[in-house]
């Protein structure tokens, strides 16, 4: 009979709402809000939290890629972040975008990163303090990262294709309808222009939300292990690629696999279905 972990591999990667309320003014931390709803931060946020927009701040506006290392350094400097700062990310949608921002920070090598378990929704539901006051921190001189960790935590189209052909673990974290090819975007979300519906051949379907409880917190370690190790067939030491539509939902799953289950070879294919579904020559699979 299989045994499952009783605790997260990296429990330090999570902070609870109760803890954070008591440490809002701690030196050495920076609370970062990142949302789907672009104006949500402006309507009220955690005291002291800064806002990082997943598209405007983290993505290059000309090339489909992340910002240059120089821009990342400027972004951090503007928010008073140093390489030693512990960035605690939170946001709406059970922390999708918070995980995406965290993943992007890891891409640039920022090491001290955490997620607020339950995110903005739990904080608000617990009626913890919110403010509209935008904090100002003394600017820092964040050094320009010498490398980007694409090779370690990011997958590109060719790598995902090789992965698919060699039957290595691929997890599609979109909704079942998207996976089956019945729809090409999330239910309730605007169509973002994908020509074909379906999934990468060989990918297993495990919607991101499977990893969360109703209050947006992460499920316990043993439940996560059953979901991903048993049902998706991922295991330590095996290359695993996760993807969704543009890489945001799969950042959530990447965080679960990397930090909560402690798998060390997980990459996020941020090109995801908006690239694969449109790519000339890319094979797809549909299922019923």
């Amino acid at each position: 009979m299989a045994t499952y972990p009783t605790q997260y591999a990296h429990p330090e990667a999570l902070v609870e709402t109760d803890w954070l309320e008591k440490h809002l003014k701690d030196e050495g931390i920076r609370i970062v809000e990142s949302n789907e709803d672009i104006l949500l931060y402006d309507t009220g946020h955690l005291p002291g939290a800064v806002h990082i927009d997943w598209r405007a701040d983290l993505q290059d506006s000309i090339i489909r890629d992340y910002i240059a290392p120089e821009k990342f350094a400027r972004l951090c400097g503007r928010h008073g972040i140093t390489p030693d700062t512990t960035c605690i990310f939170y946001g709406d949608k059970a922390n999708w975008w918070a995980c995406y921002a965290l993943w992007a920070f890891r891409l640039f090598g920022h090491e001290n990163v955490k997620i607020l378990n339950g995110g903005r929704d739990k904080w608000k539901a617990e009626q913890r303090p919110m403010t509209r006051e935008v904090p100002k921190y003394p600017a820092t001189n964040y050094p320009v990262p010498k490398k980007r960790f694409d090779k370690e935590i990011r997958a590109f189209f060719d790598e995902a294709l090789t992965h698919s052909k060699s039957s290595k673990p691929l997890i599609d974290v979109r909704s079942p309808g998207e996976y089956k090819g019945e729809i090409t975007h999330m239910p309730e979300y605007p169509q973002e222009g994908v020509l074909r519906g379906g999934h990468i051949p060989g990918a297993k379907s495990m919607p991101w939300k499977t990893a969360t409880n109703d209050d947006a917190t992460f499920k316990p370690a043993d439940e996560l292990a059953k979901i991903y190790l048993d049902q998706c067939g991922v295991k330590p030491g095996t290359d695993t690629i996760v993807y969704c539509r543009i890489g945001e939902r799969s950042s959530h799953t990447w965080f679960v696999l990397t930090y909560l289950l402690g798998l060390d070879k997980v990459r996020n294919y941020d090109g995801s279905w908006t690239e694969w579904g449109n790519k000339v020559g890319a094979p797809i699979e549909k299922s019923v």
Binding site: L39, D42, D53, A56, S61, P187, Y189, P190
Partner: protein, 170 residues
Amino acid sequence: MSRSCGKLDEAGVALPPDGAYPAKLGNIINLFESLPEDERRETLVSYADNAKNQEPRAREKFDLADVRKDEECMDTVGVYLHVDKNGKAHIRMTLGPEVQTLTRSMTAILCKGLEGSTPQEILDLPSDFVTRIVGAELVRVRSQTIYYVLTRIKSICKVYLDRQRMAQVA
């Protein structure tokens, strides 16, 4: 209707003259265009805060109600139309809790800006003004959703006018 013309959009394409918009809406457009980006965001949030004030009030009666959940929006949106004896439209809206802030902003802006216009004026409204209110930066990052509220309001006006025409034919 307010008057002035000759404005160009960011691509250098001529915008409709301000006279193409109802006066109240024209004033709101002018206000937003005069604001720097941070104040524009603050003003959008202020309008979002007021979206609840656009809900139907007790004892109000409507000629048409259209309450539905579309794929383009995160939650249910209700549009209620009353056309008074002078042919002027009065619009109320209800928004589900998951509706995003920008959609809430547009709800308050449009309910206020279109108050007292006729259904035909609303239907004829060019949609370019939405980008002038929201601003280039927010349009760039959320271009898919900013037209949703206007589309819903135009849709209920079209149904109203179609029914009026059919009633006249009959």
